[in-house]
Symmetry: D2
Amino acid sequence: MTQAVEKIRLFVAPAPRTVADIFSPADLERLHALGEVFIHEDGPVTDEIFEQHAVHAHIIVGQFDMPAERLMRAANLRAIVNVEGNFLPNVDYAQCFRQGVRVLNVSPVFAEPVAEAALGMAIDLARGISHADRRFRNGTEQYGLDANKDAFSLYDAPVGFVGMGDLGRAILPLVAPFRGVVRAFDPWLPPAYIESLGCEPASLDTVLRESQVVFVVAGVTSQNQGFLTRDEFASMRKGGAFILVSRAGVVDFDAMLDAAATGHIRVATDVFPEEPLGPGHRARSIENVLLSPHQAGALDAVLRDIGRRALADIELIARGLPPVMCKIAQPETVGLMRSKPVDKS
Amino acid sequence: MTQAVEKIRLFVAPAPRTVADIFSPADLERLHALGEVFIHEDGPVTDEIFEQHAVHAHIIVGQFDMPAERLMRAANLRAIVNVEGNFLPNVDYAQCFRQGVRVLNVSPVFAEPVAEAALGMAIDLARGISHADRRFRNGTEQYGLDANKDAFSLYDAPVGFVGMGDLGRAILPLVAPFRGVVRAFDPWLPPAYIESLGCEPASLDTVLRESQVVFVVAGVTSQNQGFLTRDEFASMRKGGAFILVSRAGVVDFDAMLDAAATGHIRVATDVFPEEPLGPGHRARSIENVLLSPHQAGALDAVLRDIGRRALADIELIARGLPPVMCKIAQPETVGLMRSKPVDKS
Amino acid sequence: MTQAVEKIRLFVAPAPRTVADIFSPADLERLHALGEVFIHEDGPVTDEIFEQHAVHAHIIVGQFDMPAERLMRAANLRAIVNVEGNFLPNVDYAQCFRQGVRVLNVSPVFAEPVAEAALGMAIDLARGISHADRRFRNGTEQYGLDANKDAFSLYDAPVGFVGMGDLGRAILPLVAPFRGVVRAFDPWLPPAYIESLGCEPASLDTVLRESQVVFVVAGVTSQNQGFLTRDEFASMRKGGAFILVSRAGVVDFDAMLDAAATGHIRVATDVFPEEPLGPGHRARSIENVLLSPHQAGALDAVLRDIGRRALADIELIARGLPPVMCKIAQPETVGLMRSKPVDKS
Amino acid sequence: MTQAVEKIRLFVAPAPRTVADIFSPADLERLHALGEVFIHEDGPVTDEIFEQHAVHAHIIVGQFDMPAERLMRAANLRAIVNVEGNFLPNVDYAQCFRQGVRVLNVSPVFAEPVAEAALGMAIDLARGISHADRRFRNGTEQYGLDANKDAFSLYDAPVGFVGMGDLGRAILPLVAPFRGVVRAFDPWLPPAYIESLGCEPASLDTVLRESQVVFVVAGVTSQNQGFLTRDEFASMRKGGAFILVSRAGVVDFDAMLDAAATGHIRVATDVFPEEPLGPGHRARSIENVLLSPHQAGALDAVLRDIGRRALADIELIARGLPPVMCKIAQPETVGLMRSKPVDKS
């Protein structure tokens, strides 16, 4: 067991965030109360800076390179806390596990804001909200039942999830009052786990074929890049809604746009293969696509939540207790993650 | 007590709906199984038609004139079922109550679809969903935090209701997972009732001042026309969201648009003083207004729900039991209602 | 519509309750604020007292005789509020409906306390709680799995309801977290209504055969006395739990005891054909019966809730609005009720 | 990352359970489908048996000694799965963490059955269920309000938790419908975590002083033995309910009985300092104590759930994925646990 020590040492280099972005004054004060806090915000963490200020730290906050050489020299190190939502490949995770160093990220802070946006997008697709507003603005709206010929309701509609991590679990209570059966496909989770969430475990094929609304919340791994292809879109129900809020890398983006452009499905996407999207990109003018500029998790309030959540786990670790608020890197899977290096959403 | 009789007689004149719109074949069969069913769909119910086909009915389905003269001649009559969402002034309600005739409408069918749309509109206002899509389409979108400067989240945000009838109660479970305190103002309901729904009873003033999101779900009565005026909008939080899904008659529409145009509040409205809205109406171009063409309750699926719900109560009444699925006219309040005569939403 | 008047007149004769039992000082003050309140607590309401103090009342609180003669003389009368949980046969309900007099009782106050007790009894039967405590007290307890050979868990167990009124609906949220399918039989409710509560509508036979736990919450009417007979108990699952919390009159009590005595089912009952039960009654010594002395709804806190609930509706009625907190007598069914005249539970 | 391999090797020595107890035939078949399964049920795992059959295993099921010597020889080992609810001191956890060996137990299977029993005990204490039954059996019952003078209702009553692990979290949904504020004390969890469960984080003192019902669900550690002493019981509300369902070791048992015997509080306990309790132990005759013979988690159905849960994680581990169904030993806390070696509850 990691013992509590008199005064712990923290090295905080939160780039691309800043300390002021993520820690409220009160949270910063609590951070300082834990022991010696060294904050580094001017440029990269060079070997010199590492050697001078980080090598004796008990806890490191940041996402700079942590190869085996640095880790092995950091004899006190208990945890590395990335104040972003991903696990980058610039950390030698195997060495962390050998040394008993916890590696954390703050991805859970994004779950609720993204879930909220995902539900808003789902209702928009189902009920034609932005579509009707657009027609109002160009003077072509219709009223009542005429407005609404293709609309459907989420009530009692079957819902499907591709992936069932933090984000999927945050969406579940939002769709529960609509009473539809909920199916989930997640190859990393056993059926009993998915059942314990009140969902039916299902194959990817079943999720796509049987759901009126499909939420894609799976992250990109080395195993699933582009796994939602033309065939998967073709297998969906005519008029079904497809809401992509995790990573563009899991879909064949062109195939997805085609499926929307032909009217086969409705699509909402918060992510794009390139951001910003090219000025003349055809996605901008497809009627059946709702476009969201990677804003689902981007709220000022979320930044403060990052600090609060990181601080809560840092305080636990300082007391010799296991963290419970952040995402914890798992030896089996951390090497599979394929997020891009910088991700501020 | 109304006894069950061998065969009951129904007179069905569902204009402006049709029998085929609202009753599925199976439901129509069940209707016929109750006894003698006379369907009248060709024009108004003249005195001659009434005398020939309706005067002996136990149950009347429709919204044609029922003055005291007709009612007093209809000695078997137990119930009048309006397959619309309102109680019109062409029925002599006092006489109905004296004779023990139940008067019903099917307004509960609209509660869930309107609640769903209202939540979609609330998330849209909070998170800028249609606004961001609009900017994408004209090539001016921004990404991530930049996209989103004025966004707020419904999570933990205080929610207010003006009115707490069927529609408000259908919205409650949808906003519950967002955890915000919910306040409700309804002058027809005692505080204990509002508390039993998990809401704080509050004055209109408190609801408007303290809520980040305000749902207006109050119907128009002879007592509340235009009661939400310039002063009420001014009392709202800067940046707050105002979602109007009941009747345009409860607000000063111009004052509401002004409050949106100045940026003081965000507005979503499903109802308008005149429908269709004039082609050059300024509402069409205000950024802070989300426009919905009276479509919140207008879904094909709702039509079949009308028939199902009416049938369920008709079957109870035929068996001598009280109705439980439709809205029942109350002697104290039915005279106060001020819906417009024809309302197909 | 009933108009609001300057000052309303109330006649309050709450026997067998007392004003002090049911109204807190603050509630009593609010009652007096409504107008002129005459309280009569000394003996029966004779014709003389009625004529002097009640005949002009707008609202009567109590359960004394209200035959047509009295009603017809009470020209201002809007409502009779019985501060008990039943509708007695000493009121001429038909005349009330003709005159537009609301008749209310406070039965909803009992729903939650009885639901709580019913759940406690269900868990007791399932898990052997009082049985194990009894064995501990006589020194014959066993431990762990040995203690518990016949125990079952409510989790995922099918639950059935006989009746689905206020009380059933109060039990539903308590059993929901146990995730079992819930079936309900109620001949006064249409399937769609039962479905809207998240239950499966079912026949009595199906409820009894398919449920591991059966809650009997149906009141006694002229149509259902003793309808749960030997055959019904025989149809239940071996080892199933039967919880009777409404009225002893709905069951063949001897048959119920026999089904428990043979070990076929487990029984909990809060009601008895005679109370107190005879000193040597065999129910007292059957292992498989949990005995509750008509205490499920009997809590001091409930008395104050009676006053609060009655007051809330009285205030609405005084303002010309429909009551929403109490049970309202329905013309179709009020004549069928068969509660005993005095019922203080 | 742990790679999936062609055929994994399992060594299964489930004493004191048996394979037949915990694995259904279907589950056992799935276990065999994973690779080579060696089952050892005849006596202890001697060094010879270990060397012959376990040393090459990828997964070990059981709770036999695993000192560093054995671990270091088990080069393929990925996980040790104890099919009991505790982490015993006969495993060298530090060595496991160094080698990347997961150590699991199945304690989550007990959470729901114990939660159900805990709720049943809480309602029993509040509403006097077993007490009234006892009086019925000895012919001294009273009826209605008289039966029930000290009863209280869980509705709107403040609830407190000492500890908030798996078991506490399983109780939360069961008490939620009763609407009372819920406070929790858990020194291993940050306030934000407790808030995310819908509870108020509170000190031990506040939990005890402010709660009408206190659930003790904390396990015994080297730091908290006997931490609920005479002072803590004295600080509780008069008439409050204290439900002990974790370990007797966390309380001063005599002080607890005294607090019940004087009538200060009501107590329910599922655990005892010695089991079986001495035949003349005074606990057996205190009116205010509900006695439960360590049966809260002891259900036949739970045994099969042990197998199902262990199997689900074994299948994940076999595929190179992290376990999600069992309790995972944490380096910071596993050394603090003080369960007794054999625990079949």
